[in-house]
Amino acid sequence: MADEKSDQKKYAKPLPRIDEENRPWWEALKRHELYIQKCRDCGDLRYYPRALCTNCLSPRTEWLRCGGKARVYTFTATMQNQAPGFREALPYIMAYVELDEGLKVLTNLVECKPDEVKIGMPVEAVFEDATPAVTLLKFRPAR
C-alpha cells in the first residue's frame, strides 16, 4: 500500500480504486491482457466489470479473452482541462471505441494526432503501465 501511495505522487492523473469486484480486470491489464465479463447463465457480455449480470442478475461470471481490436465510435480532442496530470497532457484524445466483441469502452487514443483520427477507424489495444500497480487500457491506430 505504501508503494501505491508514492506512485500516486508521481502519477498526477486519477487512478482507479482496485477492489475485490474489479480485481480480475485490473490484474489482466497488468499482464497486458484484455478480458471482459460474460454471464454463465444467459451469455450476456458486459462492460465495465461488475458482480452481477444486468440481464438476469446471475452472479455466475466467466472472463472472456478479447483480441483488443476495435473501431473508433466517437472522439474529442480535449484542449482545456485544469485537472492535474491532464493540463500538462493537452491536447489529448478521449474516445469511445467499439470492441470487435460489440462493447463500447471509454478510453484515450494514443500514438496519433487528433487530425489523424476518423470515426470507424480500426484501432488496437495498448497497455499503458501508469504505475507498478495499475495498467490502463488505451488504443492506438491498428498496425
Binding site: 486519477p14 474489479n22 465495465y48 480532442a77 469511445y96 460489440g102
Partner: protein, 387 residues
Amino acid sequence: MSLSRKTALAGVYEHPARFAPNKSMFQIMAESVRGALDDAGLKIQDVDGLCTTGMGMSGMGIVGFCDYLNLTPNFVDSTSIGGSSFVAQTAHAAAAIAAGLCNIAVVVYGSTAASQRFAIGTGGAGLGGGDPCDQYEAPFGPTTVGAYAMMARRHMHEYGTTSEQLAEIAVTMRLHASMNPAAKYRDPITVEDVMASRIISSPLHLLDCCIISDGGGALVVTSAERARDLKHKPAYILGCGETVRHPARGRRDFMEMAAAQSGRLAFERAGVIPADIDMAMIYDSFTITVMMTLENLGFCKRGEGGAFVSGGRLRYDGALPINTDGGGLSSNHPGMRGIFLVIEAVKQLRGECGPRQVKDCELALCHGTGGALGTRHSGATLVLANQ
C-alpha cells in the same frame, strides 16, 4: 390516475444576481423563495413542501436549508440528478400535492458558481466521483464538455451535421439574451463569431458552451383550485416524465437520449403532441444538447436537427421559439439550470416577457438534461398550459 391540470405553478422568481461574491448560496435561495412567494401572494407560513438540491450543497443540504429558513415542511424532495433536478422536483411536488401530501410546495435553487470560480465544464474532476463506474472513466480525463463534444462528433458523422448549424443555436440564444435585461451576455454574435472562438473540446467551440454565473430561482406549486385564487393566472401542469441514460453495459446507442423516453411520457400524459407546443425551454449546456434534445423529444426526426435549427425557427418569432431568456448559453448557468426553464416558461404563458414575448403562447414544454450526454445523464420533461 392522471395529474393533468390538477396542479399549477402559482409563483415564480428568477434571482437577478449573476455575480454575487457577498452572498451565500442559502441567502440567494432564501431571497428566491421570498420572490416566488411574493409573486404568488403567499407567506412563508403557507409553505408545507420544500424541494431543492445543489452542487454546492452537502448530501443533506435540504435539511440545512430548512434550518436556515426555519421550515418544517410535510413534504421534502432532494432529488439530485444534475441540472434537470428542478424540473423533476416540480413534477414530484405536483404529484405530492395531487396525492394530498402537501398543499404549497416551493422548489428552490441557488448557487455561487461564478464567484466561487467553479470550473463547471472543464474541471476534469467534474466527472470523477468515487462510484464504481468512475474507475473506468476518470483515468482518461473526461470533462463535461468533452462528453458532449463526443456526441457532437458522432452526430456529425451519422447525420452530416455541421459546426455552423450548431452555431445557429448559440446565435439565437444570444439574440434572446439581448432582449433580457438580466442576461449576463447581451451583445449579439454571429455564426462566424462562434466558429472563430477557440476550440474547448473538438468539435465544440467556446461559444458552443454555456456560461458560468451565480444565480438562483424559485417556484411555487399548488393545486389548480388554490392557484386560481392567487395573484396570477395559473400555469397548469399537464404532463411530466423523467428517466436516465448511461452506457448500458457497453451497448448504448448514444444518439438516443433520456429525452426520448421522458418526452414520450410527458406528451402522452398531457395528451398533446410536439406540433401543439408554442414554445420550449430546452436545457442548453452546449449547442449539441439543444439539437439532440429537439430530435429526441420528437420535434424533428433523428438526424434532422441540423436543418431544423436553421433559418430562424428557434427565434422568439419563429415556428418553435426556444430559450427566450437567452438560456445557459447567454443568460445564466450557475451549474444546474433546470429551474430557469420552468420560470421562463411560466412567464411566457402569462405573457410577461416584453420584447421577447412569444405570440399567443398557450402551451409550453420544459426539458432538463442533467449530467453528461456522453456518459450518464438524466432527462425530465414538463408540459405546461395557461388554461
